[in-house]
Point group: C2
């Protein structure tokens, strides 16, 4: 009896400091998350590795729980802990593999994801943050949290988010998305006070979270009433929404998969 050759997919949970990278997607001559991970994984696996990421984060955007996957070759059976240590030793100080899991052949970190959670950190008020300066958007005024929360509820559910993405990226594409949760909480991080905008959805359009945050801040700052956000949503026109919030406040926090997928 011959043993079936062992193949499958490895899924790596990855964190990175977005300030160090020219975005997720590999680009020639640039330090990218995909490039750094593929180079480290290729060295560790002693053969070329191509990875797929759950979310193609823009330059400057951070990740705590990005998930990337790559296919194993027949009979490859790396020890997960050894691979984690090896890639962490190779990928440089701004990128960390927190977990290595095994999934069946054909698994894709991108297409098998059932939900993605992003968090956007804002520091409002006259005093700029010290420790959070790399990880937040400082807004020099106070924000009306209640108005922002009312406006946010308009966006929860299944909607056409064409107003809330990079206009060119939406041309001829389906722009319906489902937001499961959009909540705004106050937090203390590294001793500094911040607002955290937490968004969970099935998938996101290009810059969608940052346009949503930029739009909610228009309401929080009192420049627009909270009812304005529904008009923006209905118009399906990017030019009516608020500005795109800067990348340093955004973190891809978590990506969810069907629990039974892990081997």
């Amino acid at each position: 009896m011959s043993q079936e050759p062992l193949t499958g997919t490895l899924a790596l949970t990855v964190g990175y400091d977005g300030a160090a990278f020219a975005g997720f997607a590999r680009q020639p001559g640039q330090l990218t998350v995909q490039g750094a991970l593929e180079d480290a994984a290729s060295t560790a696996m002693r053969r070329p590795v191509e990875i797929t990421g759950a979310g193609r984060t823009d330059a400057g955007v951070h990740a705590l729980g990005q998930v990337v996957s790559f296919d194993l070759e027949p009979a490859e059976e790396p020890d997960p802990h050894a691979l984690l240590r090896s890639i962490n030793g190779l990928a440089g100080p701004h990128i960390v593999v927190a977990e290595v899991r095994r999934a069946p052949h054909g698994f894709s970190a991108r297409f098998d994801a059932v939900a993605r959670e992003y968090r956007y950190r804002i520091v409002p008020g006259p005093v700029p943050p010290v420790f959070l300066s790399r990880y937040s958007w400082w807004i020099k005024r106070s924000l009306d949290l209640a108005a922002m929360r009312r406006a946010a509820q308009t966006l929860v559910g299944e909607h056409d988010f064409k107003s809330f993405c990079v206009a060119e990226s939406a041309e001829g594409k389906r722009t319906m998305r489902h937001i499961e949760l959009l909540e705004i909480t106050t937090e203390r991080e590294l001793g500094e006070h911040a607002l955290s905008v937490r968004i969970v959805g099935n998938a996101f359009l290009h810059s969608m979270v940052r346009v949503i945050v930029g739009t909610l801040v228009e309401v929080g700052a009192g420049r627009r009433p909270d009812s304005w956000v529904e008009q923006v949503l209905d118009a399906r026109d990017r030019s009516l929404a608020g500005p795109t919030a800067p990348p340093e406040g955004l973190t891809l926090w978590h990506v969810s998969y069907p629990e039974e997928i892990w081997l």
Copy 2:
């Protein structure tokens, strides 16, 4: 009736990212916290300003609630909010004035302080931190929290901490100090898991918090029993304590003054 000339002292609550500075104390040709604050305050006040700090933090040590003070000259009456904005605009991105308060003539941020709180952040385990890498000590193994907490209790109260400071700094000096509180908690900061060692005391010897943390980690890592810390304390000999924990994990968190001192 002539009005009494208005004099007094300004107390500034200051945060800074220790990685950017060669320590608190002014040194020629080096970027220091004292230098940056004195230069900014001198520009804002249009005359030379010399400041006194509550704690002379070492190179790499952070502060959230450092307090510095400087005397006002007769008839000087700066608007606290304008001064805060002005110094924050001048002092560079790694140092922030969070609050400006007025105290009576003769007040000293150093000598009137009644308690100082430091926090030391440790990330234990095989996965290095991403966002906390600048603000913590990564220890590649797990730590026995219960043993560290037992050992920590030995140090609470009034003791001679000669074993827990830079040996040369203790020569011929009084090394009795009072630790009011020493607690170790688990926290999640920027999404990453950390231990926080929180120490409150009346005053601290040079590197005292870092030697205490380095000693507690010897216990947590299982290299020493928790009873060893009492022997180290009794010996009054720096060479018997653990190593000095690295500066990036340490933050001067808060400095307390008698509440009635503020004008």
